[in-house]
């Protein structure tokens, strides 16, 4: 994934001091502070990174002899630099402006303090540069737990989501979920054109926000686990009977818990999904599982007998 400099400027509200090459793109969320480079050391120079000039680098350049400063800056801009951002609203030295113009390199400015700017930059770039995918399913927030409900077309995913919304839970996306992996977490959102909408067979598309209120929809949610709805199979069932299966599914390289739920008429899916969400919270906070409790009780009885 790549990020256009013009998008970065707009989203982070940066001033443009020198406009550079419009085709230049950011490809890494890493940052370099070019203090060492200004002192003439170029081993391990991350030229593809965003270069942040803070008060330290600025004052180092400022105290330098003007001839040397010109030489060092010229050397710096010979590299294929993505962009330079100056923090604290500092005015860049003229040598920087002139040389950057000469090499068609972006020089931008932020009013933020350097550490604050770096934190914002990294968070923003990680999100923008994150790997994405699109999956079929419903993304809902049930008791604060992000659940991706999957299953074959027509199995009743949207109807289940609708019942969950009716019970006070929150819809993130119907049918198509866009997923980004940031820092090992999977962030799911709805495509812009269909956000807040759900299709119910027979009714067509309904506007969830209009019918159930603003609090029934959410823009983005981290996916905690996946529920797969499957047709009930009477002959052979391999569903989890103890609640201790470690089944997982891989999304964008992240391994995530998967629960398979068999469906058949009369099973109240919304109630089951609520229970699954509550159980997920229980299992992530509790040190003992229901199966272990039963095993312990059995052991207790056996010991009494001896």
């Amino acid at each position: 994934m790549t990020l256009e400099i013009e998008k970065l400027i707009k989203d982070l509200n940066l001033d443009v001091i020198v406009s550079g090459d419009r085709n230049k793109k950011i490809t890494t969320s890493d940052i370099n502070r070019p203090g060492l480079q200004f002192s003439g050391y170029y081993d391990y120079f991350g030229e593809d990174r965003v270069q942040v000039i803070g008060m330290a680098e600025w004052s180092y350049l400022d105290k330098m002899d003007p001839d040397l400063r010109y030489k060092r800056i010229k050397e710096f801009f010979k590299f294929d630099i993505t962009c330079v951002i100056i923090s604290r609203g500092l005015n860049p030295h003229e040598e920087i402006i002139d040389t950057a113009k000469e090499h068609n390199i972006w020089v931008l400015r932020s009013s933020l303090q350097t550490t604050r700017l770096m934190k914002e930059l990294i968070t923003y770039m990680e999100k923008e540069l994150a790997e994405t995918t699109s999956l079929h399913g419903e993304l809902v927030d049930v008791y604060g737990v992000g659940i991706l409900i999957q299953g074959k077309s027509g199995i009743g995913k949207s109807e289940t989501a609708l019942e969950l919304i009716k019970r006070g839970h929150i819809l993130v996306s119907d049918d198509a979920v866009e997923i980004k992996c940031v820092g090992g977490s999977l962030y799911g959102t709805s495509p812009y054109s269909t956000s807040g909408m759900i299709e119910v067979r027979g009714l067509g598309i309904i506007d969830v926000t209009a019918l159930y209120g603003l609090s029934s929809v959410l823009k983005e949610k981290i996916i905690d686990f996946v529920i797969e709805l499957e047709p009930w199979n009477n002959e052979y069932d391999d569903f989890d009977r103890l609640g201790n299966s470690n089944e997982t599914v891989e999304i964008l390289g992240v391994s995530i818990k998967k629960v398979r739920i068999p469906i058949r008429p009369g099973r109240n899916l919304a109630v089951i999904i609520e229970a699954a969400a509550a159980n997920y919270r229980y299992l992530t906070t509790s040190s003992i599982s229901p199966v272990e409790i039963i095993d312990k009780r059995i052991e207790e009885i056996n010991q009494k007998k001896v």
Binding site: S134, H136, S153, G154, D174, D175, A176, E178, S190, P191, S193, T194, M197, I198, E199, G204, I205
Partner: protein, 88 residues
């Protein structure tokens, strides 16, 4: 599995009305059918998914089908797009 790349010709692209026709046609087949645009792939049997792709006039899309009636499915959907959904 069969795939075919097509360019959408009708002036409104695959907006609501054409999307409904497209999804209805796709749902008539047993095969799993997907539509993809700009690397995003979604189910062709879901109206919300098809609309989420924002397919406009001149958009290049790929239709893929996998199943017993895959060839018939692709042919029907490609014909539908080529016919501009009956629009002028």
């Amino acid at each position: 599995m069969v795939s075919k790349e097509v360019v959408v010709l009708n002036s409104t692209g695959i907006h609501a009305r054409p999307a409904a026709i497209f999804v209805k046609t796709a749902s008539g087949f047993k095969s799993d059918i997907t539509v993809s645009k700009d690397g995003k792939s979604v189910s062709a049997k879901s109206i919300i998914s098809v609309l989420s792709l924002c397919i406009n006039k001149d958009s290049k899309i790929t239709i893929s089908a996998n199943g017993e009636d895959e060839n018939e499915a692709i042919k029907a959907l490609v014909d539908l797009i080529d016919s501009k959904f009956g629009e002028e």
